[in-house]
């Protein structure tokens, strides 16, 4: 009978709850924008009160709340994407609980009954608050995984700089996983474009240790197996020092200090020549 009552009260007082909730949100959040969240709040309150019934109020894990949880997850993910902190989303939902409890406390006179009813409502909302954190993390993880994919994709661009010459500027640290991607992309491009010379530019690689050098040597060997020649360019003075100090042997690999000189070497290997236009054309 009691449960009936509190469910009934809450359902009847829907408008009052919404009003109270909005007021509480305003009090807690100085950047609060009523219009911005009105729709979300109304959606959630409506679906929550709809789901609330004699059977669901007793069990926080009831199937009846599935739809509410779905709405809540949507709100949480969208808030995460808009840059809300998980704490803000958490307080957002907890202020809803406060609104519910306030309405209940106005209706029940017996403290024992009020306590029992409040506990039930609290349990449900607390459970949902935890869910918002999950939603928040999920929203963030989506962003992270998308960015990771993007970074891997944009970090290994193979550029065709001339007919028969491809260049691959490597930016960032080279680890085993990345070398694998770099090597795969480079070899595939060599085969696709039928290029005989590949230029590997490492001016964007912050540090070279023996492992990175090993990766570079592997890449060069693989391109040679395909029947193309590989030139490593962009060797900065510090890197040259490190390579010699580490005792890494790059003597059977063509190395150049700049991409320009590597391209020049490539032209030489392809028996191409770059000439200035004759004076009579310029003037």
């Amino acid at each position: 009978m009691n449960t009936n009552q509190s469910v009934k009260i809450l359902k009847e007082k829907k408008d009052a709850i919404l009003e109270l909730w909005t007021a509480k949100q305003k009090a807690e959040d100085s950047y609060f924008n009523a219009d911005d969240q009105k729709e979300d709040s109304e959606d959630f309150a409506a679906s929550f009160l709809n789901a609330l019934s004699d059977s669901t109020v007793e069990d926080q894990n009831s199937k009846g709340f599935d739809k509410v949880k779905e709405t809540l997850l949507g709100i949480s993910v969208s808030r995460a994407k808009r840059g809300f902190s998980p704490r803000e989303t958490g307080t957002y939902l907890l202020s809803f609980k406060e609104a519910l409890l306030e309405v209940l406390s106005n209706e029940f006179n017996d403290p024992a009954v009020l306590y029992a009813e409040s506990l039930k409502i609290s349990k449900i909302i607390d459970n949902m608050t935890i869910l918002t954190f999950e939603g928040y993390i999920k929203g963030r993880e989506d962003i992270i995984s998308r960015q990771t994919d993007e970074i891997t994709e944009i970090s290994t661009p193979v550029i065709q700089v001339w007919d028969g010459v491809v260049a691959l500027p490597i930016i960032g640290t080279l680890d085993s996983a990345r070398t694998q991607v770099v090597m795969e992309n480079l070899l595939q491009q060599i085969v696709d474009t039928g290029s005989t010379i590949a230029i590997l530019d490492i001016s964007g690689v912050p540090a070279v240790d023996s492992l990175v050098a090993q990766h570079l040597i592997k890449t060069v060997s693989a391109t040679r197996l395909l029947g193309a020649e590989c030139i490593i360019s962009g060797i900065r003075p510090e890197i040259a020092q490190i390579i010699v100090h580490l005792g890494i042997d790059l003597s059977n690999i063509i190395t150049k200090s700049t991409l320009a000189s590597a391209l020049q070497t490539a032209f030489g290997m392809l028996k191409l020549e770059v000439n200035k236009k004759g004076k009579f054309i310029n003037n």
């Binding site: 694998q180 090597m183 595939q188 085969v191 005989t196 060997s221 395909l226 029947g227």
Partner: protein, 133 residues
Amino acid sequence: MDRIPILKMGDFLLVTIQVDLYDQLAENLETDLVNAVKKHNSKGVLIDISSVSIIDSFMGRILGNIGAMSRIMGAQSVIVGMQPAVAMTLVELGLTLTGVATALNVEKGMELLRSKILLSDGQSDDDDDNDTE
């Protein structure tokens, strides 16, 4: 028993491997090829492995052997059309096939073979074991 066909094209021998090689087949190819070089007095051997998707360490060694054998018999050899995945596997296995010339496709391989033969003819018996130029 299966054998891989060896085609004679003028001074060159052309071997196109269309199936995945197993050990016996590869050993036969090695023997057949040196015999063919002797028989036709060939100056160049071109091996096309563009349809081979698996090369293990044994196969890698056989390819190296073929290169070395034909060289001491006075013929240049070029391996063409290696798949990227195969190249990566060989490198991981530590088989960089130094001393074996490679080219991207048959056309470029032929070109390389011709230039190598011109080079070795021009400079008498001067051995050159450089790979691609």
